[in-house]
Structures are given as structure tokens and as C-alpha cells.
């Protein structure tokens, strides 16, 4: 074999090694995080961790239920606020906005996506929290689920909007033409043909948003209050639930990891396992929801 061919073969093996690096990394992540969490699972117990609401490491209490509720609640709030806005933005960009306006709005969405989470957190601390505090409910410090949901909604907006916009654009043009030729208005065409045809892609965007929301850490720590108690309505009005302070699973990890040791540290890794499990459940249910749907042939 000539030198050229030896080089060729060597390169192939090196590249192969690079390709399987990602497999190795995923396995390593799973392995190490799980390994570090075993101490917690075996010493404290799975149900103790998952079902108890008291997190007090100093007294050997490691219940993270309150954090699970915190993460789910703030994600729910972010989806409630963010999805309509993101979907509206996507429809606007894909179907309604003239080219000149698109050239302003789309880069704006992209820029929103790139802003560091701590900047959003800071903005939340300085502007949103005082604003929420103005709602004169006793016990309302401004920090809590509401401010966090708003910040999170803004953060996941660009994620959902760009995927949804792509999905809408991928709907073949002849569906639109067919609808218009039957005497439907443009809006009827959008709601009755385009959106239904693009719904799996739009859903994929929402799932991506949910994943981002569950995984966000620093911005949440900055505005959510980080109290370890189960969030509760502050007054008789059930909506005041969102004025309650809370802590997310991600926040739990970040806030305590730097000084935690032993079982405490292991419990934080266990929190990571729970977080990862939550995200897997969300992805799996999305895939289950999309099953058996006729996929629209993509234009690209």
C-alpha cells in the first residue's frame, strides 16, 4: 500500500474515533451522574427523596418534591405565556408579515435567543421583581413564580417561534392554493389547513421550549426566590400561587453544590437524575403524541 493509502486508512480510523466520542460522552454523563447519586438513593431512599417536601440537609431531610413542583409550575407558567406569543410570532413571520417587516422581526427573534440567561435574570431582578411586588398581596416579595415565569417565557419564545416558523413554512404551497381556490379567506387557510398540516413540527418546537424551560438554572435562581418550602397561594385567591416563592430542581443543584459534601452532595446529583428523568418523560410523551400522525412532505 502506498503512503497515500496508508494515510487514507489512518484518517478513517481517527475520524471514526471522533464519531463515537459523542456516544462515549452520553454514556459517561449518564454513568457519572448516576454513580454520584447512588449514595443518596441507597442511604436516603427513593420515596424519601421524591415524595417528601422538606429539604433540610442539616437535619438529614432530602425531600425534593417542592422543587419538582417549583420546576413544573414555572415551566407551566412560561408555556402559558410563551406559547401563544411564540406561535403568533411564527404565524406572523411565515404568513402575514411583508418582507421588509420580516427583515426586522426575524433578526430580533434571533437576537433574543442569543442573550445570556444571566442578563435576562438581571433584568428580571431589576425591573420585573419590583413590578410584581407592586401587587399588594401580603407576603409578596416580588420574587417568585410569576416573575420567573415571565422571564422564562421570554427566554423560550425564540426557541419555539423559530421551530414553529420553519414547520409552517414547510407546509407545501399547493395546500394553500387549494384552500384559497375554494373560496376560503387567508386566515381560514392558515387555521384550517396550514396549522393542522404543520402541527407536528409546531409541537416539536413547544417540546424544545419545555426542555429549555426545565433546564434553565441561573436566571431562575435570580428571580424565583429559592425558598425550599412548597409553593402555595399567598392569599385566598388561588392565582396567588404564582406569587409564591419557589425553587427549581436546577436551582437546587446550583445553589448548594459548591459547599455540599457526602450524602448532601449525592442528593444534589440525585436531583440531577430526577431533572433528567423529567425531561426524558416530556420528550417521550411528545413522541407518543406525534405517533401515527401523517407527516406532511417537507418542502425542503
Amino acid at each position: 500500500m502506498s503512503a497515500r493509502m496508508i494515510a487514507d486508512k489512518t484518517v478513517k480510523y481517527i475520524l471514526f474515533a471522533s464519531a463515537i466520542i459523542s456516544i462515549i460522552i452520553v454514556l459517561a454523563i449518564g454513568f457519572f451522574i448516576f454513580r454520584e447519586s447512588i449514595e443518596a438513593w441507597s442511604n436516603i431512599g427513593v420515596s424519601e427523596i421524591l415524595m417528601k417536601t422538606v429539604w433540610r440537609p442539616g437535619q438529614d431531610q432530602y425531600g425534593i418534591l417542592a422543587m419538582i413542583v417549583g420546576s413544573v409550575s414555572v415551566t407551566f407558567g412560561a408555556i402559558l405565556l410563551g406559547v401563544p406569543l411564540a406561535l403568533g410570532c411564527a404565524i406572523f413571520l411565515a404568513e402575514i408579515a411583508p418582507a421588509g417587516v420580516q427583515a426586522v422581526v426575524r433578526p430580533a427573534v434571533q437576537l433574543l435567543a442569543g442573550i445570556p440567561s444571566v442578563v435576562y435574570g438581571l433584568f428580571g431582578m431589576v425591573i420585573l421583581v419590583p413590578l410584581v411586588r407592586k401587587l399588594g398581596v401580603p407576603g409578596n416579595s416580588g420574587y417568585g413564580l410569576m416573575a420567573a415565569s415571565i422571564v422564562l417565557a421570554v427566554m423560550i419564545l425564540p426557541t419555539i417561534a423559530s421551530v414553529a416558523e420553519d414547520a409552517i413554512r414547510a407546509v407545501p404551497e399547493n395546500y394553500r392554493h387549494g384552500s384559497l381556490a375554494l373560496g376560503a379567506t387567508k386566515w381560514q387557510t392558515i387555521t384550517k389547513v396550514v396549522l393542522p398540516a404543520g402541527k407536528s413540527g409546531i409541537l416539536a418546537g413547544v417540546i424544545l421550549g419545555v426542555g429549555r424551560a426545565l433546564g434553565e438554572t441561573m436566571a431562575m435562581i435570580m428571580v424565583i426566590g429559592n425558598s425550599v418550602i412548597m409553593p402555595q397561594p399567598l392569599s385566598g385567591n388561588p392565582l396567588s400561587f404564582f406569587l409564591s416563592q419557589a425553587r427549581t430542581l436546577t436551582g437546587n443543584i446550583a445553589v448548594e453544590i459548591n459547599y455540599a459534601t457526602g450524602v448532601h452532595e449525592s442528593a444534589l446529583f440525585a436531583t440531577g437524575v430526577v431533572l433528567f428523568g423529567l425531561i426524558m418523560i416530556v420528550n417521550a410523551s411528545a413522541r407518543w403524541m406525534i405517533r401515527g400522525q401523517k407527516f406532511v412532505e417537507k418542502a425542503n
Binding site: P172, N174, Y175, H177, G178, S179, L180, A181, L182, G183, A184, T185, Q188, K192, V193, P196, A197, K294, V296
Partner: protein, 255 residues
């Protein structure tokens, strides 16, 4: 020819600076089948799309002259209302990713009909008129995209009929179909012509001869601007064309 359903007077269409159609003047008779034939690129489809203002969707298009339906200027009517009266069947069947029932019911739903019984009536009637009812009557819930090409096209015809148009525009409706499916479509066109004004663009001269009562021959030169060269009863145009270019096209000397 007394009652013309559709009419154009000195109608021209431009894509930006490029003139696609030049000074077309024609009277399309009611409840007859009129075929538009001519070599590729001569603007037949563009002309067809003028009648339901689908060209409005293309940026940079502007027109001169007038297009009339029942004597009214179509550019003064709301295009959405116009399209409820002038239906279209496309070259490639484009059923929606919905069930057969929902495809046909789409038009009536969109024009405000909510009564489910009425919708069922209309769906059945339209599918019968499109000669598809017997093949799908037990499977109305199945996706429209599951049907064969010929069936999909008949579904699109049923869909267009469900809106109760008075005119049906067909843009090479059998172009993507096999010969048997094509014949079925041609029979269908013949049946429908009793109650609807049909304008059909076709590349296939034999088809034009089989299916139409009147034929219009379009032609284009190096300028790629389409013009109407001759319009008369189909029999006459094919056996005794007046214009040299028509005769050349029919006898296969070009196109």
C-alpha cells in the same frame, strides 16, 4: 353564441416588465366545455388563473383590460367571493391531509355551513357528481392522501363542486394520471358540462378534441408573449382552421 358566461376584453397580463398575455379578447359560452390549447409557455395556464384571480397571489403581477363574469368586472368583486363561484382543479391533485369527508366538506364549512346533516348531503352529492361516491362511500374517514392519483383528482373535483360554483377551471387535470384514470376524468367533464361552464387547459390535442365544445388556440413567438390566435367550435377549429399557425400546431409541425 348568445350568452357568454366569461368574457375578456383586450386583456393583458404582466409579470413585472415581462408581458405574458397580450390583448386577449374572448367570449366563453355558458354550460359548455371550452378548451385552451397551444404550445408550452404560451400563457394558457396564466390565462386560466385569471378567471379566479389566483394570479393575484404572485407578487409583481399587473393587468390591463377587463375580465368579466356574467357581465361583471371580476376585479371589482371580492376575490374570495369570486372563488366561491369559480372553482379550480389543479394539474397535480392536491387533497388536504385530512379525511375524504373533510376534504369535500372543507369548502362548505369555510363558507359558513355548520349543519352536519346538510354537510353529509353535500358531500354525498359532490362525490356522486365526481363519480367517486361508490368507491369511497364506506371509507369517508380515510385520509384523502391514501387514494390513488386518479381518485385524488376526482376528490379534488368533488371538493370544488361542493362549493356550488357555476364555473370550473381545470388546469391539465389529467396530466399526472394514467390513461384509464384520464378517460374517467374526461367522461366526468362531459357529464358536468350540462350544469357547469368548464374551461380546461390541455396539452393533449386529442383530449381537447374529445372533450370540448369550443377550443381556443394560444400562440407565442420569440417574445414569449401569449396571444389568442383562433377561437371557434372545436369541430371547426380542428377540421378547418382559419389561421396558418393553428393548422401548423394541429398537424404537429411544432409544439
Amino acid at each position: 353564441m348568445n350568452d357568454s358566461k366569461l368574457e375578456t376584453i383586450d386583456y393583458s397580463l404582466y409579470y413585472g416588465k415581462y408581458r405574458a398575455l397580450k390583448d386577449i379578447t374572448i367570449k366563453i359560452p355558458e354550460n359548455k366545455v371550452t378548451a385552451l390549447i397551444g404550445p408550452s409557455g404560451c400563457g394558457k395556464s396564466t390565462f386560466l388563473r385569471s378567471f379566479n384571480r389566483m394570479n393575484d397571489l404572485i407578487p409583481g403581477v399587473h393587468t390591463e383590460g377587463s375580465v368579466l363574469i356574467d357581465g361583471e368586472d371580476i376585479f371589482k368583486i371580492d376575490p374570495v367571493a369570486l372563488r366561491q363561484n369559480v372553482g379550480m382543479v389543479f394539474q397535480k391533485p392536491n387533497p388536504f391531509p385530512k379525511s375524504i369527508f373533510e376534504n369535500v366538506a372543507y369548502g362548505p364549512r369555510v363558507t359558513g355551513l355548520k349543519d352536519h346533516h346538510k354537510l353529509e348531503e353535500i358531500v354525498e352529492r359532490s362525490l356522486r357528481s365526481a363519480a367517486l361516491w361508490n368507491e369511497v362511500k364506506d371509507n369517508l374517514g380515510k385520509p384523502g392522501l391514501d387514494l390513488s392519483g386518479g381518485q385524488q383528482q376526482r376528490l379534488c373535483i368533488a371538493r370544488a363542486l361542493a362549493v356550488e360554483p357555476t364555473v370550473i377551471l381545470m388546469d391539465e387535470p389529467a396530466a399526472s394520471l394514467d390513461p384509464i384514470a384520464t378517460l374517467k376524468i374526461e367522461d366526468l367533464i362531459h357529464e358536468l358540462s350540462a350544469n357547469y361552464t368548464i374551461v380546461i387547459v390541455t396539452h393533449n390535442m386529442q383530449q381537447a378534441g374529445r372533450v370540448s365544445d369550443y377550443t381556443a388556440f394560444f400562440y407565442t413567438d420569440e417574445t414569449r408573449t401569449g396571444q389568442l390566435v383562433e377561437f371557434s367550435e372545436t369541430k371547426t377549429l380542428f377540421t378547418n382552421p382559419r389561421d396558418r399557425r393553428t393548422e401548423d400546431y394541429i398537424t404537429g409541425r411544432f409544439g
